[in-house]
């Protein structure tokens, strides 16, 4: 008996849940509202079946429950009833399928006037490319990828030199412009999902896949990766900003072309040495750092990372947060680095500096640290050597007290919370996995045992 009542309650409860729960589609921001319609249609058809079958089941269980003297009817089959049920079911199925296929027909046919944009996925970042003035993408190949050519474009393809590169996880699109999104992966499978756009598609290495949509509502939307792509899958985020066309054009015009990035002169460490003279007061003559002045070691840190941090200090993505006393100090000094060339030269100088391994100041359980570090190794490398492709700086042989402080900053929202600091946000997400002070000390104690030199040399070959 109870089961019959419970079945009825479950049906009613499910209906209440359906209508009362706060979880429903995010407001749609693309042309694919027809997809929502097919979902809602499917809800109606399946909902009717769900209610009908289960209420009938509950009624049957109640009505024909065992009582003394009651006997079941001998009833092997009823062809007519079965045929009717088959036909009605088929009609219901067709009613869901036909509209679905109709909408799919629109999805597979990309409109003629669609603009093109390329989404480049990698562990665990998004980058983008626009075709430039010629409206065509230059050829790309995963084997061409280097620190100087992170998109892997073919320098010999003339169509590629005007391609506009978006080397950050933020994409902008003009509103109401149909766009064909070409999807390419450098390493493993990913999936480009903007929940508010509804459509999504995998990025497959070795192939270029595509989908299309028209953004219809200006706004800022998160990009999620929805195909498991390794340890950092959940932290592979990006952003699409849909803006009026003029704003989009302005943004696009300020971005570098592939040709421009290739024409940059090599950084000059000697010029950087001159600039560094100012910094020595805190960071030391050979960049060895000074704990007393809260200045971390810089010698040997990777140039791209130093450049990025200088940029972040200069434009306030780092160090502007309340509570970040030392970051605020550094902001003042970073402002003295005048332009990109100076920053590049300075960074090149620091990467080339050699200083003895700093004294360990953090104690912890090295074995436990090793287990925890297995997570960190996915980006920072097994020897903490840092991997440019993952935007992960060198950790080994750097100031351990500084690592502890930064991990705390990440955890406590002092660093990595600025909307423009994407990489900081990502690190904050991972730092949360360390959960407590003890774990931080253990990991850093383990990092103190690492030796990055052999790996660094090998990677340079």
């Amino acid at each position: 008996m109870a089961i019959a009542v419970v079945l009825v309650l479950l049906v009613i409860g499910s209906l209440i849940f359906h209508f009362a729960s706060p979880w429903w589609f995010t407001p749609i921001a693309s042309n694919w509202s027809t997809m929502d319609d097919t979902v809602i249609l499917t809800f109606w058809v399946t909902g009717v079946v769900f209610i009908a079958v289960n209420l009938f089941l509950a009624w049957v269980v109640w009505k024909y429950r065992h009582r003394k003297g009651h006997k079941a009817k001998y009833d092997p089959e009823n062809k007519k009833l079965e045929w009717w049920l088959t036909i009605v079911t088929s009609i219901g199925v067709a009613a869901m399928l036909a509209p679905g296929l109709f909408v799919w027909g629109k999805f597979v046919n990309v409109p003629e006037d669609a603009a093109i944009v390329e989404v480049v996925g990698q562990q665990w970042h998004w980058n983008f490319r626009f075709p430039g003035d010629d409206g065509e993408f230059g050829h790309s190949d995963a084997t061409l990828i280097t620190p100087e050519n992170p998109f892997g474009l073919d320098p010999d393809d003339p169509r590629g030199s005007d391609d506009v590169l978006v080397a950050s996880p933020e994409l902008r699109l003009p509103v109401d412009q149909p766009v064909k999104v070409l999807l390419r992966s450098k390493d493993v499978l990913h999936n480009f999902t903007v929940t508010q756009f509804r459509v999504k598609m995998d990025l497959v290495p070795g192939m270029i896949t595509h989908m299309w949509l028209t953004p219809t509502v200006p706004g800022s939307y998160e990009i999620l990766c929805e195909e498991l792509c390794g340890m950092g899958h959940f932290a592979m985020r990006g952003r699409v900003v849909v803006t009026p066309r003029e704003e989009f054009e302005t943004w696009l015009a300020a971005l570098p072309t592939f040709g421009a990035t290739q024409a940059l002169a090599a950084a000059d460490p000697a010029a950087g040495a001159g600039l560094y003279a100012v910094c020595t007061a805190c960071h030391g003559a050979s960049g060895e750092g000074n704990p007393a002045l809260n200045a971390p070691r810089l010698a040997g840190q990777q140039a791209w990372y130093i450049r990025r941090q200088l940029d972040a200090f200069r434009d306030g993505r780092r160090g502007a947060k309340e509570g970040d006393v030392y970051g605020a100090q550094m902001r003042a000094f970073a402002a003295m680095v005048q332009d990109d060339t100076s920053a590049r030269n300075l960074a090149a100088h620091l990467e080339g500096l050699a200083a003895p391994q700093p004294q360990a100041t953090v104690a912890g359980d090295v074995d436990r640290g090793r287990r925890l570090y297995a997570n960190c190794a996915n980006c920072h490398g097994h020897q903490g050597e840092g991997i440019w492709a993952l935007n992960a700086p060198r950790l080994a042989h750097m100031s351990d007290w500084y690592l502890v402080r930064q991990l705390q900053n990440f955890q406590h929202g002092v660093r990595g919370t600025d909307a423009g600091d994407y990489y900081g946000w990502q690190m904050a997400t991972f730092a949360d996995a360390l959960k407590d002070e003890r774990s931080i000390n253990d990991v850093v104690a383990y990092i103190n045992t690492l030796d990055p030199e052999p790996v660094r040399t090998a990677r340079k070959d």
Partner: protein, 584 residues
């Protein structure tokens, strides 16, 4: 008929003497069934614990320190693979298949008992290799149970070294074990049924297991092929699935391979696998419903045809798992259509289960409760399948919690409810004892209500857009705080369900000694396994004479008959012959 010999032979096919021959290196299908079941349930408990740890991380990300991201991905992978392959497939076919086929078909044993024994030991080896991966350098693979390359064999995924290789090797071994068992099940059904047991007189349990085994035999090779090729990609550096790529800034030596090829192969196995688990559940639940409602199964022929139709169609729907994989989008039309067609025979089965209860005499025993619970959860899971099978509807929902909710309802909760119901149903025959009814009912209610509380909200999280396989949701703008609250609630429900498993195990183990002695046929069932001369059935099952079958498996409440059931081996009595005066 020189070859009907096996079924006609009156002596047991093999004759164990020592303890070891009886219980360890046993060739008796009933012992092998128990061995299979115990190992499957044990490894299933491991997977259950893993899911509990995962839920703690998801529900209370700030309070528990059990799981880091690497482990989280290792746990989801092992949880999924163990539940699907090493628990459900092994339990339904190796466990129930082994126990039920010879008993229900009236044979003395499987036709190749020695191979049957080997099948179990090879399966055990597969389990050991699988569990060994927890203890190797880097731990087990964290590539997700779908094991998609390239990430499965590349750095950045936990267990990309030894872990994934052990997983592939273990799957290969499992497939060998399954093939040995499967040859037995199919051949036994085809060749060793007792006199009078026509195919159309077989209980639906046997039909479900039989067709599922055929699916397995034809589909597992796809997994075997992909496992071999991925192992070579991972160890020798071939490029079957591996394209040219740049991993961690380095370029491995691969070139030109196709990750999509793996996905096609995997799902060519993976979709039939759903039915390898579902069809035995369909069959068994039909028998539970008929027996405990004291009524013949409604539309037996349609039920058999539906099993066959579902089995056949399951080979032409695989790419509905790949709508957003980047395959040629035109495939979507074909696979959406075939997928929705498969809903029709499936729906017919549901109707017929309910119509079996209709005008029945429903005894709400514990097995019956589980069977009714199954109908509810399966209707739910089946209907949400219509969302995901329809390509356009799938697009916004794929890779979200809607998918997680769907496949757990249809492939997790539903078959597991049948497993529980079936264990309660056949336990008296297996052990000669009854279990504790009150504990059984508590177990049912906790499981049934608890699982629904877990999975119903997940569908709505999916519609909102919560992605699956996320270690932590972090601060995602479009997710309200309520998402985190419901995640915590789901975790609590999951812990309750896990606790109910403890009640179940306690009941099963303690009843071995304390349970009341069971009569030979406590449910007054018609099928042959209840008609054995001994309970539990002895070696050789049938004593000196094999049974002879005179009627179908569902002669319940025959008009005019003195009892409300007539066992299959009772000769026809002209006073209450059936088959006339019924619509047909």
């Amino acid at each position: 008929m020189a070859y009907v010999a096996i079924a006609d032979r009156d002596a047991p096919i093999h004759d164990p003497h020592t303890f070891i021959e009886k219980y360890i290196w046993s060739q008796d299908h009933k012992v092998i069934a128990i061995q299979y079941s115990i190992v499957a349930i044990f490894v299933g408990l491991v997977a259950l614990v893993l899911s509990g740890l995962m839920r703690l991380q998801l529900g209370f990300p700030d309070s528990f320190h059990f799981v880091d991201p690497n482990q989280y991905y290792q746990f989801i992978t092992m949880h999924g693979m163990i539940m699907v392959i090493y628990l459900l497939t092994a339990l339904f076919l190796g466990g129930f298949g082994n126990f039920l086929i010879p008993l229900m078909c009236g044979s003395r044993d499987m036709v190749f008992p020695y191979m049957n024994m080997l099948s179990f030991w090879v399966y055990l080896l597969a389990v050991i290799v699988l569990l060994a991966s927890f203890f190797v350098q880097g731990g087990p693979t964290g590539a997700g149970w779908t094991l998609y390359p390239p990430q499965a064999v590349l750095p950045g995924t936990p267990g990309a070294g030894l872990g994934i290789i052990l997983m592939l090797v273990s799957l290969g071994i499992f497939i060998v074990a399954f093939t040995m068992g499967g040859l037995n099940y199919v051949t036994t059904v085809l060749q060793a049924r007792c006199r009078g047991m026509t195919l159309m007189r077989m209980p639906l349990s046997v039909w479900g297991i039989f067709v599922a085994t055929i699916l397995g035999l034809l589909a597992f090779p796809a997994l075997f092929v992909s496992a071999i090729m991925m192992t070579l990609d991972g160890t020798l550096g071939t490029s079957f699935f591996m394209p040219a790529l740049s991993s961690m800034g380095q370029a491995p030596e691969h070139d030109g391979g196709s990750p999509l090829l793996f996905q096609h192969l995997f799902w060519f196995f993976g979709h039939p696998e759903v039915y390898i688990v579902a069809l035995p559940a369909f069959g068994i639940v039909s028998d539970l419903l008929a027996t405990h409602a004291r009524k013949n199964i409604f539309g037996y022929r349609m039920m058999v045809w539906a099993i066959l139709a579902i089995g056949g169609l399951s080979f032409v729907v695989w790419a509905h798992h790949m709508y957003v994989s980047g395959m040629n989008p035109y495939f979507g039309f074909f696979f959406a259509t075939t997928t929705l067609i498969i809903a029709v025979p499936t729906a017919i089965k549901v109707y017929n289960w309910v119509l079996t209860l209709w005008k029945g005499d429903i005894h709400l025993t514990v097995p019956m409760l589980f069977a009714i619970g199954f109908i509810f959860t399966f209707v739910h899971g089946g209907l949400t399948g219509l969302f995901l099978g329809n390509v356009t509807v799938d697009l916004p929902l794929s890779d979200t919690y809607f998918v997680v909710g769907h496949f757990h309802m249809v492939m997790g909760v539903s078959p597991v409810l049948v497993v529980f119901g079936a264990i309660y149903h056949w336990y008296p025959k297996l052990t000669g004892r009854m279990w504790d009814d009150r504990l059984g009912r508590i177990h049912f209610w906790l499981t049934f209500l608890g699982t629904y509380a877990i999975y119903l909200p997940m569908h709505y999280l999916g519609i909102l857009g919560v992605p699956r396989r996320y270690y932590a949701l972090g601060e995602t703008e479009f997710l309200p705080q309520s998402v985190h609250t419901v995640n915590a609630a789901i975790t609590i429900a999951a812990l309750v369900v896990a606790a109910s498993v403890v009640i179940f195990l306690y009941n099963m183990i303690v009843s071995l000694w304390r349970g009341e002695k069971s009569p030979p046929n406590p449910w007054k069932a018609t099928t042959l396994e209840w008609q054995t001369p001994d309970t539990p059935a002895k070696h050789g099952n049938w004593g000196p004479r094999l049974p002879e079958v005179h009627r179908w498996a569902y002669d319940y409440s025959v008009p005019g008959a003195p009892d409300d059931f007539i066992p299959q081996n009772v000769p026809v009595d002209s006073r209450y012959a059936t088959g006339t005066g019924h619509h047909g």
